[in-house]
């Protein structure tokens, strides 16, 4: 054909006037129109068409290029019309490709000589009659009023739901302005949905030339905003989540094969369940699968089918119960009583988070699950196990839970599983599965749940261990009740084997105020923490062999009032940690941990305790760490001659009693005064008797007995001003009988000596070796060291000191003693 044209042109050019040749090949009829046509029909330029040659600038053009993208772009590059971003950005309806095999292209839409689509397939520069008006006409080959031109090729997208396609035509809902601002078009009627409401053939960077991407459900939610998980105020709606990566669910291949789509990162999106074009499966809701009694739900949520034979399948216990759509479970499927994909199924209960409200919609008084209503004192919700907050001292939750091995689900307040979320009902419970170790359920109404069932995600105590693994040192200890008192029952009348390790003392639902206590309390101290201990440690309790009697370390006391500080936990009367709280049993003891260093192994409940374990928070041996935490000034006794670890103990069991316990029994001491652990020797006063127990002929300090060590009694020394502890001139006087502190009284050994500190100048522990003392140390008080009685006796003090403390001085004059008047 081309050869023929060339030949004819060649001949005609040579012998026939040019105008005649125009007529023969239908070229423009006059020079002006020739340019107007050739301005796109490049090959019609005179040089090519009439002269049949190229020019010095360009080669001969024979091929038709009028509708090529490059030609269109010679004007649409901004020099006439700027279509750079919208059309010439690789974001337009396919060109340079053949139409799909199944598509029949009407004859009015020409393909190029290779059968592929070009701009000219849809467009013509010559325009066509159109009722759309010039402002809408874009030189297309047919009217696209209401997307009619689109449908001419895409015939399978025609129609509405009846043809398995998203509805087109006038709608009740308004097309959102936001969508229109992104290029969406509306048909010629009000709210008229057309193809171009969702699609645009030019300039869309999105899949399927959508105005907005649907792979994040964005396009769908523009109109179906009420289907969004959150409303405009950020409130969670009762909608199936979208744009969330499935955590526990895998979208089955069978669903993908049917055309389900997922988000770019694998998220669930609207099109995961809905197929909006060519849906031959379910044409009512354009679902990807038919939904017969929750079958669509269970396609993805296969594990939720374990619900079928549990009490949460209402067909068993509440078959007449209807959801908010007025349907029973038999009518709408086992998911329907609690879940509807796009609306609330039940009236929510009260609760701080979305899931709690769902659970409490049934588990509340007057409703179908009122028999299983969580009572007031229950495990707290809305807390993160990874954030101990102010609870770091007691470490109720393990302080360093391994987030990677933590298996329980946490949820944000919107009910969406979130690793950074908080504890809610479904953290511990899987409402769709009765037992964690079995897919079988339990529907007998009289069968109550226990630590192995109850819809728990793990059996107890393993489920408790997920957060509270630091409490599991209690296993095999004397507080492991299954080991020491297996028949003892908690307040639910459960033995330890029924309640589980933790349930012996704590009830997650229905425990008493204060650590969800599961046992009867008998003490009325008014201090909850104290009462928990005495509940067992009393004369009738199962720990009656370990009860605290008189002459024990005081509890329910304020350290602040005693001028002491501590790093040990103090509590208010409700059992909460409090910096200025009271000292209780749990100040010194951690009931979950036999040994502070966690070294106890095996069945250590059979072993008698020492001051290195015994549930103490800090070992008291070899250093008096526990006592010293409060009694810091007294802890300087360590490694001095008064520390029996250093001095010869003469049978005292320091390893069992510790440095402090040699002289003081914390519990059940034989003496009230100073909880004195030893006997009393001879002496003028109670305090002297205690000192003389060691500093006597049979005592461990028999080589440290003063030859003369007395001070006239009954001098009624007025000690006011020097009786303030922790001051430099502290010089205590004691009641001769009781040992209590006095402001006016007699001098005794500890008046001058601080038995807990070797050198008054240095608040530190001793050197760890026996050393001979002098007048600058020797357990003297600072007052004694500095003033040596001068403040009372003036210049006469030295004589008097020697008289009463130096045998030689006193013996020389003993036959002719002259007692100063002031001594009489």
């Amino acid at each position: 054909m081309i050869n023929k044209i060339f030949l004819v042109s060649l001949i005609l050019c040579s012998i026939i006037p040019a105008s005649a040749s125009f007529a023969l090949v239908e070229t423009p009829r006059n020079p002006d129109s020739a340019k107007e046509c050739a301005i796109c029909h490049y090959r019609w330029i005179d040089t090519f068409y009439l002269d049949g040659k190229g020019s010095d600038l360009v080669p001969y053009q024979q091929e038709k290029v009028v509708a090529r993208l490059e030609m269109c772009f010679t004007c649409h590059d901004g020099s006439v019309v700027d279509s750079r971003a919208r059309v010439y950005n690789d974001k337009h309806h396919n060109t340079d490709k053949p139409p799909p095999p199944h598509m029949k292209i009407p004859d009015i839409f020409p393909l190029d000589e290779n059968g592929v689509m070009q701009c000219a397939t849809c467009h013509t520069a010559h325009g066509v009659p159109s009722e759309m008006g010039i402002e809408k006409t874009i030189f297309i080959r047919a009217s696209n009023n209401n997307s009619e031109m689109c449908i001419m090729c895409h015939t399978d997208k025609e129609g509405s739901i009846s043809n398995g396609n998203h509805p087109v035509g006038p709608a009740e809902k308004e097309i959102p302005l936001n969508l229109i601002s992104h290029g969406s078009r509306v048909g010629d009627k009000k709210n008229h949905i057309i193809c171009e409401t969702c699609h645009t053939v030019h300039g869309s960077p999105n899949e399927s030339f959508l105005i907005e991407s649907a792979r994040n459900s964005g396009l769908c939610l523009e109109c179906h905003a009420d289907k969004n998980v959150f409303d405009a105020d950020g409130k969670r709606n009762h909608q199936h989540v979208v744009n969330v990566k499935p955590v526990n669910v895998k979208i089955p291949e069978e669903v993908i094969d049917k055309g389900a789509k997922i988000g770019w990162e694998g998220e669930i999106i609207c099109q995961t369940c809905h197929k909006v074009h060519n849906n031959n499966i379910e044409k009512t809701l354009l679902l990807i699968m038919k939904d017969e009694k929750s079958s669509l739900c269970l396609t993805c949520h296969k594990d939720k089918n374990y619900l079928a034979d549990t009490k949460h399948n209402l067909v068993h216990l509440a078959p007449k119960e209807k959801n908010l759509e007025g349907k029973t479970v038999a009518e709408a499927g086992i998911c329907s009583p609690c879940h509807l994909p796009h609306k609330e199924a039940r009236t929510s209960g009260e609760g701080e988070d979305f899931i709690t409200r769902l659970c409490l919609s049934c588990h509340k008084k007057g409703n179908i699950a009122e028999k299983a209503v969580p009572v007031d004192y229950r495990h707290p919700l809305g807390i993160s196990p990874f954030n101990n907050g102010s609870d770091t001292q007691l470490n109720l939750a393990t302080p360093d839970i391994d987030e990677d091995t933590f298996t329980l689900p946490l949820f944000n307040k919107y009910g969406i599983q979130d690793h950074d979320g908080n504890v809610t009902c479904t953290t511990c419970h899987d409402p769709h599965r009765w037992r964690p170790d079995s897919e079988k359920g339990e529907i007998r109404e009289d069968i109550k749940g226990d630590s192995f069932s109850s819809f728990l995600r793990k059996t107890a105590p393993d489920i408790c261990k997920e957060c509270h693994s630091n409490k599991f040192f209690i296993e095999n200890s004397k507080h492991d009740i299954a080991k020491v008192a297996p028949e003892e029952k908690n307040s639910l009348d459960q033995t330890p084997s029924e309640s589980g390790l933790c349930g012996v003392c704590h009830l997650v639902h229905g425990g008493q105020q204060g650590y969800l206590w599961a046992r009867k309390t008998v003490s009325e101290s008014g201090n909850i923490v104290q009462d928990l201990c005495t509940g067992c440690h009393n004369e009738q309790g199962m720990a009656k062999e370990k009860i605290i009697k008189d002459y024990s370390h005081p509890v329910n006391i304020s350290l602040t009032e005693s001028g002491l500080t501590t790093t040990l936990p103090l509590f208010d009367k409700k059992g909460h940690l409090a910096d200025n709280g009271l000292m209780t049993c749990e100040t010194c003891h951690d009931p979950h941990k036999w040994s502070p260093d966690n070294t106890a192994t095996g069945e250590h409940f059979k072993v008698e305790g020492t001051i290195s374990n015994s549930f103490l928070r800090t070992a008291n041996f070899p250093s008096p760490g526990l006592c010293g935490d409060c009694h810091k000034d007294e802890s300087y006794i360590e490694k001095t001659d008064h520390d029996m670890m250093i001095s010869e103990s003469y049978g005292l069991k320091v390893a069992e009693s510790g440095t402090c316990g040699v002289c003081h029994n914390v519990h059940n001491s034989k003496n009230k005064t100073r909880l004195w652990a030893l006997d009393f020797a001879d002496g003028a006063s109670m305090m002297d008797k205690m000192c003389n127990y060691c500093h006597s002929g049979n005592g461990s300090a028999k080589d440290k007995i003063p030859d003369i060590a007395s001070h006239p009694d009954d001098q009624l020394i007025n000690n006011i001003g020097r009786d303030i502890k922790h001051t430099p001139n502290y010089f205590p006087l004691y009641n001769d009988r009781s040992g209590e502190y006095l402001s006016v009284g007699n001098i005794s050994c500890p008046s001058c000596h601080n038995v807990h500190q070797w050198d008054p100048k240095f608040k530190k522990i001793g050197p760890g070796t026996n050393i001979e003392g002098n007048a600058t140390n020797s357990f003297l008080r600072m007052q004694t060291y500095s003033l040596l009685c001068i403040d009372c006796h003036g210049l006469d003090a030295l004589f008097r000191f020697k008289y009463y403390h130096d045998v030689e001085e006193r013996v020389e004059k003993i036959t002719n003693i002259i007692v100063p008047d002031t001594f009489q």
Binding site: I39, I45, S55, L57, C75, G78, V80, D82
Partner: protein, 325 residues
């Protein structure tokens, strides 16, 4: 394939067919007529390639160079201006999509004045924006619609001696003259049409040392020259594909010898014209002695060092060349 060889092959095929004698006679005559009237040969203006500037541009359209050598490129579909140093290293970019101050919507033309201020034809926003040399917004000129037709400012040039800004309004087919100080409209040059001082889609504009205006008149396929007062001076080029003709003129630049360079976006060539409008030559790469084909050349610029800057829209780059005289 050379044209003479092509015709020889055709003749051979015809001679091989019996009964074609009469046709052959006519063919021989026509070939003789063709070659006897054909003006062969063309002069070149040689350039040497220095470097390209790319920077992930998306359909750039125009380029301007400041007195200090900073190169400002309109990266229109990315809605920004890319700035490189005189060595072609991009040093910063400014602008983002939008209609606020400093934002832009598919800008097209650009001009840099002697102080380094940048004038941008923010076409999609129907305005000119003025920036300091660092891309900080200074002011804007909103171009009014004409009888309901939205303004489409595609390029600007500034006559600092007369304190004027000349703005091409592509959709309304005229040139607007604004006062540089007050930014008020002073005058309008031209009307729609094909005659003198008439335009059909004027696009890019340039000025010579005397501030004569060179306006690319796209659909009229010519460059129209006006004096500073808007009076017609001459046409440069015309319709066609021969030397001195245009199929799609896009960019224009005037060198220090008042030679006029015009790019053709479809033929891919840059032609050089004498001051009087007579065709001079076509751009060629030195040592190649053949026409340099650009990949859809649009805006062009010639600096004081006789460097030619060519925006190639399809290639998303700006080529920088030395011009040899």
């Amino acid at each position: 394939m050379r044209r003479s060889h092509y015709h020889a092959m055709k003749m051979k095929k015809l001679l091989d067919r019996p009964g074609n004698i009469s046709i052959i006679i006519f063919a021989v005559i026509s070939i003789l007529l063709y070659y006897s009237g054909h003006a062969s040969g063309i002069d070149f203006t040689y350039i040497q390639h220095l470097y390209d500037i790319t920077f992930d541009m998306n359909e750039p359209s125009d380029v301007a160079v400041s007195g200090s050598g900073q190169i400002y490129i309109v990266d229109g579909v990315n809605n920004r201006v890319v700035v490189s140093n005189k060595k072609g290293k991009v040093i910063f970019a400014f602008g983002e999509k939008g209609s606020g101050m400093g934002q832009m919507l598919y800008p097209l033309g650009i001009f840099v004045d002697s102080t380094g201020n940048v004038y941008l034809a923010d076409s999609g926003n129907h305005r000119i924006q003025i920036f300091d040399p660092f891309g900080e917004f200074q002011s804007e000129i909103k171009i009014p619609s004409v009888k309901g037709v939205l303004a489409d400012p595609t390029d600007i040039t500034v006559d600092e001696s007369r304190n004027r800004i000349y703005i091409v309004d592509n959709n309304n087919h005229h040139i607007l003259v604004y006062d540089l100080d007050t930014l008020k409209l002073l005058d309008t040059y031209g009307t729609p049409g094909m005659g003198k001082r008439q335009f059909r889609y004027p696009f890019l504009i340039s000025a010579d040392k005397a501030n004569y205006l060179y306006i690319v008149d796209v659909i009229n396929t010519r460059v129209q020259v006006l004096n500073p007062d808007g009076k017609f001076v001459q046409y440069i080029g015309g319709w066609g594909v021969e030397k001195g003709e245009f199929f799609r003129p896009k960019g224009v630049a005037v060198d220090r010898s008042n030679r006029v360079f015009v790019s053709d976006g479809y033929m891919g060539v840059i032609q050089v014209f004498k001051t009087n409008g007579e065709f001079d030559s076509v751009i060629s790469i030195a040592d190649k002695s053949r026409i340099k084909k650009f990949n859809k050349p649009v805006g062009i610029f010639i600096d004081n060092n006789n460097r030619l800057y060519v925006v190639e829209m399809f290639a998303n780059r700006v080529g920088v060349y030395d011009i040899f005289y």
